[in-house]
Symmetry: C2
Subunit: 450 residues, 2 copies
């Protein structure tokens, strides 16, 4: 019997569908089957807070391409509401649970791509099963939050966790008119940034009306009428809550892979090489369930972001269809905003550099987003971290008003090129009064280091 | 007699004052004299259109530091209304004309820095001496335009020249309620960009109410009541005009240097090496009157921009005060806007690459400034130019709505690092719905090239 070259993909979001689409572009006739346990494919998970805030309108706008389109236009057989429950790498089959009719069946594969994403971290605490307690993961969870707000009209919300999701949801729920509190067990929000930069964010959020409680640990949730959440109890206080968002980070959804004997790596993400191959020949992994390698440390890293997932998918798809591609690596570049405050980071923070015992120097400066005399000119704070000995850039962080955040891309590009602070100072960057001071804030920070 | 180490600087704007300030920081006691023929020092020439538009308020806001401050805080002897009329490099003296009392005197120097800036190109045509015809050069010219508008209340304005100044003045005069026409003899506005990118700008300007006339050559100006301008006559038509702005570019103000036997270079800019030394020992030049070297072509270039002048000044000042610095070179990075349309460029355009006989490939893409579903998401067009053989980036151009323009810095940084389109595609750039699509528009353009 000829070995099947059927490609089976587990997971129908960014990584899985990018890979499947890439394979289809190269191999017109290959059989491609995608199993997705949810209802939706290729959706913008990052858009959920803005949808919940009421800024997007119809939820369909978050969906880049639906299963029907994949089937019709690309001949990719996407089966939604189908959960893969076991992988057998000896016989090259997956066991699938059809969530609509409850039946199980096996599907043989020639090659397998695991793109199962990440799942929210949810501690097992009393009351976590109360109605009105949500984490954001698949699109349906965003829809559920939206519907809950429409139906129940919560007045008070508590967000547990001050990372990207926590900050974006704080903005969204303020937008919906709620009194919003945010609780984090760490002494700062935004664990990926240094404390003094995170402090600027906390100050701004408080100023905009969010109650931010740091160094407080969630202990339990209280239930009220109809099993609905009514309060959040921390180790320090009790907060009233009609709605609770758990944004305590995510972990790779790698249980299936682990049970199949596929090697896991950093933080239990599926171990992959730069080609996105797992430890088992013919089995690939991509997206939030799998590792990346960090361009500065050279070490494996777990970065759950849409940009990375999309690049993972294209890399895997290229290799699966006979090409030769390597994932280029990550810097951990990320951006978000809270109302008018833009927040961005790339590379290593000072904290991270120190934890890796890298001797470093830093500069943190405050400048203006535009020429001081130009309307709308506002504050931006830039922090750069360089290696002490070589002066080579290690990372950067930006917190500031309109136009501040996207400057992180200049730093990320300089970082990738191995530039020093001196090199950054020497860059011929753009200037006009509506966009920048004569020396761009990024260069002002570099100049302070030289 | 001990040779004087007095530093004489001709010109008190960005380059001259950056250099003088740098020297003072290093050499606390050195005698530093600056001659400035105008009234103002260290002003933001780039801010004049916004001042004229009425967006800045008091003109003093454009002045970073005035002569008194330089004298008091930095012990730099700035003499305004003093025009240097001759340089004698044999005897190391300059002849100075005191414009207030009409007297001339000579001043000896140990070292001399020429920072005389650039002057507007003004063709000798009938009627150019009419009242209400302006070029923007020193700050006083901006003040004169502002006063003219306040006093005369012009209804119709004609701008001759569709470069940065022309476009910014078109915005400013629309803002002041005038009917604005713009005339350019070239078949496009923005000569530093490729025609199809420039076309987007023309379309937008026309849509906003500016009458743009291309391939029309200025022939003469008509005078009306009191010697005031009343019309502009081109080779194709006659336009009514109560106010005329001549924005036909600038040329280096290098006549003094030339008469002193100092070597000139490209487009008559003062020839300098990377240290900003002229052909005469002890004589330096910096800013818009002098050459730069272009990082892509390796050739001398004339780039009259505040960012460059400021870097020139710091480089010259470092060397004059005994340090060792080299000007890092230019890419011709520039940015401007017309109302909500942001316009930016760096490196070589396709036109320029072809004129240098560089075989190149290009990609031009249209994308969104933000995720499509996010409020305010709008169009951005990116063009990248790469070397055909190597794939190495040569330049980029961006035209688009809010958030589009500053992306040019990512391209400028990649360009400086010698990156290829593939390298750009692989960059770990920032993404969140309010800032970008998952693939940044710059990367979408790079991907098209790969």
């Amino acid at each position: 019997m000829k070995k099947s070259d059927k490609l089976v993909v587990i997971g129908g979001d960014a990584a899985g569908m990018s890979a499947a689409s890439k394979v289809r572009r190269v191999q017109k006739d290959r059989e491609i089957v995608v199993f997705e346990r949810g209802r939706h494919t290729s959706y913008a998970a990052c858009g959920m807070p803005y949808y919940i805030a009421g800024q997007v309108g119809d939820v369909d706008r978050l969906i880049a391409r639906n299963p029907e389109t994949f089937r019709k236009n690309q001949n990719i057989d996407v089966k939604v509401h189908h959960e893969v429950i076991r992988i057998d790498t000896t016989d090259n089959i997956v066991m699938v649970h059809d969530l609509e009719n409850g039946k199980e069946f096996s599907e043989a594969y020639g090659e397998l791509l695991i793109a199962t994403g990440a799942v929210p971290v949810k501690p097992e605490l009393p009351g976590m099963d109360a109605k009105g307690v949500f984490s954001l993961s698949i699109l349906q969870t965003g829809i559920n939050v939206y519907k809950f707000i429409e139906n129940i009209k919560p007045q008070t919300a508590v967000i547990v966790g001050g990372g990207y999701i926590g900050i974006e949801m704080a903005e969204a729920l303020l937008e919906r008119g709620m009194k919003v509190s945010l609780v984090d067990m760490a002494p700062q929000v935004m664990a990926t940034m240094d404390p003094e930069m995170a402090g600027l964010i906390t100050d701004y959020m408080r100023n905009e009306g969010v109650e931010v409680y740091l160094e407080e640990k969630l202990e339990r949730l209280e239930k009220g009428v109809g099993g609905r959440v009514s309060g959040v109890v921390t180790d320090k206080q009790k907060l009233k809550a009609d709605l609770v968002i758990i944004g305590m980070g995510v972990r790779p959804n790698s249980d299936l892979a682990k049970e199949a004997g596929i090697e896991l790596g950093v933080r239990n993400a599926i171990r992959v090489n730069k080609k996105m191959q797992t430890s088992v020949p013919g089995v690939w992994a991509a997206g939030d369930c799998s590792e990346s390698h960090h361009l500065i440390t050279g070490e494996p890293a777990f970065i759950a972001l849409g940009t990375v997932a999309s690049k993972h998918g294209v890399t895997a798809g290229t290799n699966i269809s006979g090409g030769d591609a390597e994932f280029p690596g990550v810097l951990g570049t990320a951006i978000t905003k809270f109302r008018d405050l833009e927040i961005a980071r790339t590379g290593l923070s000072e904290k991270e550099a120190k934890s890796l015992s890298i001797e470093c120097k830093t500069a943190q400066i405050e400048a203006r987003t535009r020429s001081g005399y130009y309307p709308g000119s506002a504050t931006v704070t830039v922090k750069l971290v360089v290696e002490e000995a070589s002066g080579r850039l290690l990372g950067g962080q930006i917190v500031g008003m309109q136009g501040a955040g996207k400057r992180i891309d200049t730093i990320a590009t300089a970082l990738t090129a191995g530039m020093t602070a001196r090199n950054i100072m020497d860059l011929d960057l753009s200037y006009a009064p509506p966009f920048s001071p004569v020396w761009d804030p990024v260069q002002i920070a570099a100049r302070k280091l030289v």
